[in-house]
Symmetry: C2
Subunit: 439 residues, 2 copies
């Protein structure tokens, strides 16, 4: 393997992903050189503690605690430290120095992606972060490049493996929420602080990144409407199942027209019902999948592992090879593209459908009164089903109703639920879930 | 939208895909310009008959019958004529003149891909053909770029929508093969000459392309082992269903070690059983999906429409935008990569498992005799199930057996089936199917 020029790779961080990245660069050196036309030389690995144990045995002389110096001497920097600082400063220094940067840091990209892309663009460097969303699954490159001539209309992602694991156990084994969470925790699916997962923060960061790329628009993570799975009960899972649905935590990015005609973008995360014959319904355990709808391409789905050291390393290596090829052939990197600058619409503007479960007084005129509440807010029922009639509180007989609405504005649907809660004939609203994945 | 340079696009062919490509270029001009940094100007559309009816209304002055002259004046040529000639000559002329070429022509790429890639590489032009495999689904770019740092071990593709439609109808509605084919034909899923689909020729062309890209090796289409679906019966579909399997026509590309230790590549197309909980089992109707296994990334699946004018046009546009960006930033295209030059192994070297259905004489010692036939060829049974016992030909009672083997060399499995056919205790071998999608 003579005649190749060397490209110096600086690796920041050596956790489960970093160790696998280092291993792949060292073990596949000849093959990578043949594919790239240049040899990747691992110049160093910056860590906090040189003597910490690693997943993979790596030459000790590669390790350094001087990340800044490593960055200065690298053609391509791979950032796998996580967190905002010092990652943000080091990446900025690398880009300003003309190095390409590959990162898996979703929190950083969600918070500072546009600023970092701007730094890259100013010097013609490449910033890439395929591993930041859905780990091993190639999704950002297909959105950015393969669908570059199409109009993406909607992205529905199962992008958090932990919550999918919990919901899947509840669905397939009838676990309670507590039992499913305990198993997920024991298997290492949940962080020590599970809030990032179960409250949807992690999924919201990914929704930001997906929406920004799909719609060429800066979507701040604060603008993502976010609901987690902590309110989901075994009863809701069971009811969904018998009605032919499954509950999934979805990260949704969507082109949308507001009530006043404004074209904009919605980014949101919430648990929702999807039909069992939808391709996303078959995504089990900790797997991830991203379902994409585009004007010309129609429906596409990208499925695979959403976590794991080797799996995430595969995506990092893909970005690394692209960056290295750019060094070989010359020319600037593909800039981040935020040219559309669409407004971000509030969740109230979203068109969706609700499934509402109620307990009502078992007396004449109840259905008419409920139908009136829906109609007043412009919401129409697609189905009304009376399930079991049972004894209510005190002496009064009550009945359980399941209302499926047609698609309507989220604001009108939410107002309808409030009105139902306040209605004299309604004794309890027991479940409200959105229905997604429909035309 | 001032200040952009113009890129001249020459379109060859204006069938269902070509008309959509022309429409998208014309309708999305401003947006494409913003994404690319250059304006795409449709320089002309070469057709045989300028006055033929089109799917889309297009300016008449764009049409020409002089394809050669159009090619000479274009920065990027999009070839959607299909067939080998004159497409091959025109593409070669375009590449030799330094133009980039985008094509959806699977027959041409399967037969002459390496020669055309070589022509592109000599002048630093880009040849791309995402739309040639699985239409709208981004698969070639992820294989070539996203997984560039990984080792792909196996690709299992449902890449022919017509045969998937037929098999899916037989599975889900209990149709006979004839009824399912008739419906597929009526809905336009089948060509006038359905042989290309049902005999697996179309899938074999795609297997060639997938194997070449996944394994960096020239895989001639003649080296693809090919079996179609014409022998599949409703009885086999039904038996598969009750055993928890579904029959799919698979295009398989696989890294393989031969019995003598040679590392090589297998490319093959045949109908096979896959478990119902495998992600490929949920691919219904005319949809396509490609399931990829890689050392680091694990299991990935890419799902979507495998045909259609607009759908295929989406993939063509993605390649077009990439080619156009290359013109803007400069530098050569990504060359076709066939550096691994692995040997293509015959189907006999493949490791697979068989499901064999037999009718046997209902007499003592039958099982022992059958077990002996397997053992002599190094094949071991994973399961033996006696299904219905029924009256045989004449007076003799007979029984039906279903044998599932463990994984073994295809050559040994095929020899085992031959020995079973010849065995005195076996009255008939009623079904032989391979079992794929397992570790």
């Amino acid at each position: 393997m003579n005649g190749y020029r060397d490209l110096r790779i600086g690796l920041l961080g050596c956790g489960s992903v970093g160790a696998q990245v280092a291993r792949l660069i060292l073990e596949h050196g000849d093959e990578l050189a043949a594919r790239i036309g240049a040899r990747l030389t691992l110049a160093g690995i910056a860590v906090r503690n040189v003597d910490a144990p690693r997943d993979v045995e790596l030459p000790r002389e590669l390790f350094t605690t001087d990340a800044e110096r490593l960055v200065q001497g690298s053609d391509i920097v791979i950032e796998l430290m996580g967190g905002i600082e010092p990652a943000r400063t080091l990446i900025t220094q690398a880009l300003q120095g003309g190095a390409d940067v590959v990162t898996a840091n979703k929190a950083l990209i969600a918070a500072h992606g546009p600023e970092l892309s701007e730094a890259a663009e100013q010097v013609g460097a490449q910033l890439s972060y395929e591993a930041a969303v859905a780990a091993a699954i190639p999704i950002l490159r297909p959105l950015r490049e393969s669908l570059a001539g199409d109009h993406i209309t909607r992205v529905l992602g199962i992008v958090n493996g932990s919550t999918n694991y919990i919901l899947d156990r509840m669905d397939r084994f009838g676990d309670s929420a507590e039992d499913a969470s305990r198993v997920a925790s024991e298997l290492g699916f949940l962080e020590a602080d599970p809030t990032l997962d179960v409250e949807g923060y992690d999924a919201a960061q990914k929704a930001t990144i997906l929406a920004s790329i799909a719609f060429h628009t800066e979507v701040p993570v604060d603008a993502v409407h976010r609901e987690g799975i902590t309110q989901i009960t075994a009863e809701q899972i069971e009811a969904a199942k018998s009605a032919g649905y499954v509950i999934k935590l979805l990260a949704i990015a969507e082109r949308l027209q507001a009530a006043d005609g404004t074209d904009g973008v919605s980014a949101r995360v919430y648990p929702a019902l999807i039909r069992r014959d939808h391709p996303l319904a078959a995504v089990h355990e900790g797997k991830n999948a991203v379902f994409v709808e585009a004007e010309a391409a129609g429906e596409l789905m990208f499925y695979g592992a959403g976590a794991g050291g080797a799996e995430t390393a595969s995506a990092v290596l893909g970005d690394l090879v692209s960056a290295a090829r750019r060094h070989v052939v010359g020319g600037p990197g593909i800039p981040g593209s935020l040219h559309a600058e669409l407004p971000i619409l509030p969740v109230g503007e979203v068109m969706t459908a609700y499934q509402i479960m109620l307990e009502v007084r078992d007396q004449p005129g109840v259905l008419a009164s409920i139908a009136g509440i829906l109609a007043e807010r412009g919401v129409s029922a697609a189905s009304v089903e009376q399930t079991v009639a049972r004894g209510g509180a005190g002496d009064e007989p009550s009945a359980a109703l399941v209302i499926g609405t047609h698609r309507a504005r989220e604001a009108d649907l939410a107002a309808t639920v409030e009105a139902l809660r306040a209605a004299e004939v309604v004794t309890a609203v027991t479940s409200v879930l959105r229905l997604e994945g429909q035309a």
